[in-house]
């Protein structure tokens, strides 16, 4: 699919970078004139994906998180969040609502929210090699001023 614009970011898995990743994707997505609701959904999905890297991929160390975004044809925003951490042993189990290995500080709703707020979610993971999350969202362009 033709890429009309793209960006790539790398940052360490410090929790302070959750906010940075959200602001960065919001700035990149702004060129598609998203509505406030769409922007909220995109920021939430990115926050969940990056938090997963910090909490689950690199539980005992600081690793590198890569976030890529592309603008595809027909106002589709594609976001990829990648880590080289411990990977997910059972992806189907991890996708279940309320399932978490993160204790009482986590709700286990990360993948459920990513799935319901974005139009497409792919999870590619191998134990020991890391995880790649790819999600897409077609924007309505209702935010375009007349």
């Amino acid at each position: 699919m033709k890429t009309e614009n793209f960006m790539r970011l790398e940052f360490p898995s410090h929790s302070a970078n959750e906010s940075f990743a959200r602001q960065a994707i919001a700035c990149f997505a702004a060129q598609l004139d998203p509505t406030l609701d769409e922007l909220g959904d995109i920021k939430t999905a990115v926050s969940e994906a990056v938090t997963n890297c910090i909490v689950h991929a690199y539980p005992d160390c600081i690793g590198i998180v890569t976030m890529k975004a592309k603008i595809l044809k027909d106002n589709v925003l594609q976001i990829t969040v990648r880590d080289h951490g411990c990977g997910i042993p059972d992806v189907e189990k991890a996708r279940q609502p309320m399932y978490t290995t993160g204790g009482s500080e986590r709700s286990g709703m990360g993948f459920t929210i990513m799935e319901s707020f974005m139009s497409d979610l792919k999870i590619i993971s191998k134990p020991g090699l890391g995880t790649t999350i790819q999600m897409k969202r077609k924007l309505s362009r209702k935010g375009v001023r007349p």
């Binding site: 959750e18 906010s19 939430t44 926050s47 969940e48 938090t51 009482s104």
Partner: protein, 100 residues
């Protein structure tokens, strides 16, 4: 530090800013500390100044509810803005905490 006030055994705690994994643990500790200090009959979490929340906010509400359940009390969510409301509703929070 979160601001709060106690009236008629009802503790109101004003949350603010962005609730994510980075801030959630501090917020949970502060809410837990205030509940332990005042032992209220109900705890109101005021979301008026929460500009963003991800699923970490669900855990914040669940932890407050768990602590209030131990006291036989309830949790009420007040002034929830559209973005946090969407997250809370996706987890079915309205079934375990009153939203007004």
């Amino acid at each position: 530090m979160l601001t709060s006030f106690l009236q008629d055994k009802q503790l109101t705690i004003a949350l603010d800013g962005e609730i994510d994994h980075h801030s959630a643990q501090r917020i949970m500790q502060q809410i837990g500390g205030k509940i332990d200090q005042f032992l209220p009959a109900s705890c109101i979490l005021d979301f008026e100044r929460v500009s963003f929340m991800d699923s970490s906010g669900i855990a914040v509400v669940l932890n407050a509810r768990r602590r209030m359940n131990e006291l036989g009390g309830s949790v009420i969510l007040l002034n929830v803005q559209p973005q946090p409301m969407k997250i809370l509703c996706s987890a079915g929070i309205e079934q375990i905490a009153k939203i007004s």
